[in-house]
């Protein structure tokens, strides 16, 4: 036990010499997979939709190959609803904006200039805004109306807090001593349904955005 402890302290001491802070920004696009069961309502269809991401982050590398990263980010988790047959003019996208705080461990590997990395962690978030845009057909007369409106959050229905797992795979290019560019593919896997659940009938809806983003950071 003592030997393990001494070894661990030695590793940290060595690592501390190489510890680095960095501050950066990133942004990109994401495609959200919206999981929802339409059950017998075969005329209702949901698909994913594209959105955007933007973040500022800070990272502290304990060792050359491992660090802790925290971000404040905006992620859109959008989806499209559409109908078919005589209601084919009903289709609208719901644009959902989440403010999130992912905290990840980054494992990196490679050379001095070009390194690959893996981010693994958890995130917490809040559904700050939602907007509907498209068109809807009124069933009685089949007349089509444009839809461009703020989504009215309804406390009994909408679960605005979110959390889940986050993981990403990317590559970094250190083009100057203190500057680096990076590109990353990332997935957010939510554990929280977007709707409050009735205690009698469970009907879960989940967002799973896959993001492709790029950015740069300043290494202190």
């Amino acid at each position: 036990m003592k030997k393990v402890l001494v070894l661990f302290i030695a590793m940290v001491a060595v690592g501390t010499i190489q510890a680095q802070w960095r501050l950066g920004v990133s942004g990109g696009g994401d495609y959200n997979f919206y999981s929802i069961q339409t059950h017998y309502q075969t005329n209702y269809h949901y698909t994913g939709s594209w959105g955007g991401t933007a973040a500022i982050f800070t990272q502290y590398n304990f060792l050359n190959w491992v660090g802790l990263r925290a971000e404040v980010e905006m992620v859109q988790k959008n989806h499209l609803f559409y109908r078919t047959l005589k209601f084919e003019d009903t289709h609208y996208t719901t644009y959902n904006t989440y403010l999130q705080l992912p905290v990840m461990t980054q494992f990196s590997f490679g050379g001095e200039k070009v390194r690959g990395f893996v981010n693994v962690g958890i995130y917490g978030g809040y559904w700050v805004d939602s907007h509907l845009k498209g068109s809807v057909q009124e069933p009685l007369n089949l007349k089509t109306y444009p839809v461009d409106e703020k989504y009215a959050f309804y406390p009994a229905r909408d679960e605005r807090w979110d959390c889940g797992l986050v993981g990403g795979l990317g590559i970094e290019y250190r083009f100057l001593e203190h500057w680096a560019l990076h590109a990353e593919g990332r997935c957010y896997y939510s554990f929280i349904s977007t709707t409050h659940q009735s205690s009698v009938i469970k009907d879960y809806r989940y967002n799973t955005p896959l993001a492709i983003q790029a950015g740069f950071s300043y290494i202190f």
Binding site: V118, L140, Y145, Y154, R157, F191, V200
Partner: protein
């Protein structure tokens, strides 16, 4: 070596994390109660527990105003947990009486506010079907509703009452064939009675005379058994009498003309009047005008002369009102218009164009929004859209200055309420009378259209273990919100003076409408 180990380690962590995290809970399976599914309703008929669970679930998915109910303190999940044990307890009993089941389901269903909602459940113990009408139960305590349910507006007395309300021209028509049937059977019965009396005096009867006696007695029995039958049952039975006794009619020389049974589906009484004061009045018993006024509907058998005569008479009454408005407006003699929807229980949306819509510009009219469901979740709603009524398409004058008064009472329901609500969006319109019933949501009850919004009615009446008659669309006024269970409040409240009406034939609500038109107060 170290770098490869780090990569492998990292990938392993990611894979483990996502493998573990693939365990998102599954949603519960849900079935369609809106289409007659033998398995789903079979389960609901197994015992009272399953019946309650089925009805609770069907309502959870198909009822359109759960947000409104929650605002009024109704938590549907709480209802489930409170009443499930009580229905389970019923399954332990040898026999469940209708009274016990009525009481229990009444507690579950009567708090619902939808003004159209109507339910039926089968007592699984004895097979009896029991009915529940939450709005009827709620409105029992409103004296005006109770009175209005038995009231038929009739201003004919004003043809003889001098003053501002004096009627110069008055006409009525009805789709009812009850009087025709009654007259036919009365005449025929007199002929048969007389013949039977004559034949009683004879000692021996010919073969033909024996047939007349036999069929004559059967005819008299059948002719007297129509009383108490529903309209459609009565029309159908009368037509059977016409066929069965055609030979007797031929022998004795009386006429039995069949009636058009489809008219039982389109019951309508109309009245129009022109007041000396320059006011045009129109009253109709239900929003069933389209079959008689809209040639595009083509639902009546106009090849039948008596049907054609009925259709023409109703059309003439409406046209008299419409033409009088055109004439008075063009000659600057129009003082106002009254549309009387008291004790009118609603009907077709299309009818709007023949009443209030005949006074508005062509191209449609919208006074409120509608909302449908968009998912199985209790609060899954589609974006709201304007609820647009058709207005009269042909050339006509627009009444934008002269007062329009809609008369309504506690038994003005559905389209009568939509018409009442529309006055709130028309500057020169006013609602006079009493607060309406509280049933403004729109219905499409044909199961073929269930998938238009996957909501509304479910089950089959007198067949499935439970049945519900429910709207598919919610009406939402931009300022007044949802008015289910509440109704439309009049601008000028006037309680009907029953004793005045019974003693003099005067209608104080009608008089108040005339007063408003003539004085602005």
């Amino acid at each position: 070596m170290k770098k490869i180990s780090i990569i492998h380690y990292s990938l392993f962590i990611i894979l483990c994390v996502f493998a573990l995290s693939s365990c998102r809970p599954e949603s519960d399976p849900q079935w369609s109660y809106g289409q007659y599914d033998n398995q789903v309703y079979g389960l609901a008929g197994a015992n009272f527990e399953q019946q309650f669970i089925g009805l609770w679930t069907a309502l959870n998915e198909n009822y359109c105003i759960w947000d409104f109910e929650l605002e009024h303190g109704l938590d549907w999940d709480e209802v489930y947990y409170k009443y499930l044990p009580q229905f389970q307890a019923l399954d332990q009993k040898q026999e469940v009486t209708d009274e016990e089941l009525m009481k229990l389901y009444g507690e579950v269903l009567f708090p619902l506010h939808d003004g159209h909602a109507n339910f039926q459940v089968r007592n699984l113990s004895n097979g009896h079907f029991l009915g529940f009408n939450p709005s009827l139960e709620r409105n029992k305590s409103r004296p005006d509703c109770q009175f209005s349910m038995g009231f038929t507006p009739d201003i004919k007395a004003y043809t003889d009452i001098p003053g501002d309300c004096h009627i110069a021209q008055f006409q009525t028509a009805s789709s009812s064939q009850i009087q025709f049937i009654s007259n036919s059977l009365d005449k025929a019965s007199k002929v048969v009675d007389a013949k039977l009396e004559e034949l009683e005096q004879k000692e021996t009867l010919t073969e033909e005379e024996q047939l007349i006696v036999q069929y004559g007695k059967m005819f008299l029995k059948d002719a007297s058994s129509l009383e108490g039958m529903s309209l459609s049952a009565g029309y159908s039975f009368y037509n059977k009498i016409c066929v069965r006794y055609a030979m007797l009619a031929d022998l004795l020389g009386f006429e039995l003309t069949p009636v058009d049974e489809t008219l039982a589906n389109y019951t309508l009484d109309v009245a129009s009047a022109y007041l000396d004061a320059g006011i045009a009045y129109f009253r109709f018993s239900g929003f069933n005008l389209s079959p008689f006024l809209d040639p595009g509907w083509n639902v009546l058998n106009l090849a039948n002369p008596s049907t054609k005569a009925i259709q023409q008479s109703i059309y003439d009454v409406w046209k008299a009102w419409f033409d009088k408005i055109q004439e008075l407006k063009k000659s600057n003699a129009l003082k106002g218009v009254i549309i009387d929807v008291r004790s009118n229980t609603g009907g077709y949306n299309n009818d709007f164009q023949f009443a209030l819509g005949a006074l508005l510009p062509s191209g449609g009219f919208s006074s409120h929004m509608e909302r449908t469901k968009a998912g199985t979740g209790r609060y899954d709603f589609a974006p709201m859209t304007p609820f647009t009524f058709n207005t009269y398409k042909e050339e006509h004058v627009v009444i934008s200055e002269e007062p329009i008064v809609v008369l309504a009472n506690g038994f003005s329901v559905s389209m009568a309420e939509m018409t009442s609500l529309s006055t709130k969006s028309i500057a020169n319109a006013r609602l006079v009378g009493m607060r309406t019933w509280g049933g403004l949501c729109s219905l499409v009850t044909d199961p073929a259209f269930y998938s238009d919004a996957y909501s509304g009615s479910f089950g089959v009446k007198n067949q499935t273990p439970f049945y519900a008659y429910l709207p598919q669309f919610v009406s939402i006024h931009p300022e007044l919100g949802i008015l289910e269970g509440t109704g439309v409040t009049p601008d000028i409240e006037v309680a009907f003076d029953q004793s005045l009406y019974e003693s003099t034939g005067r209608d104080n609500q009608f008089e108040r409408a005339v007063q408003y038109i003539l004085t602005g107060n």
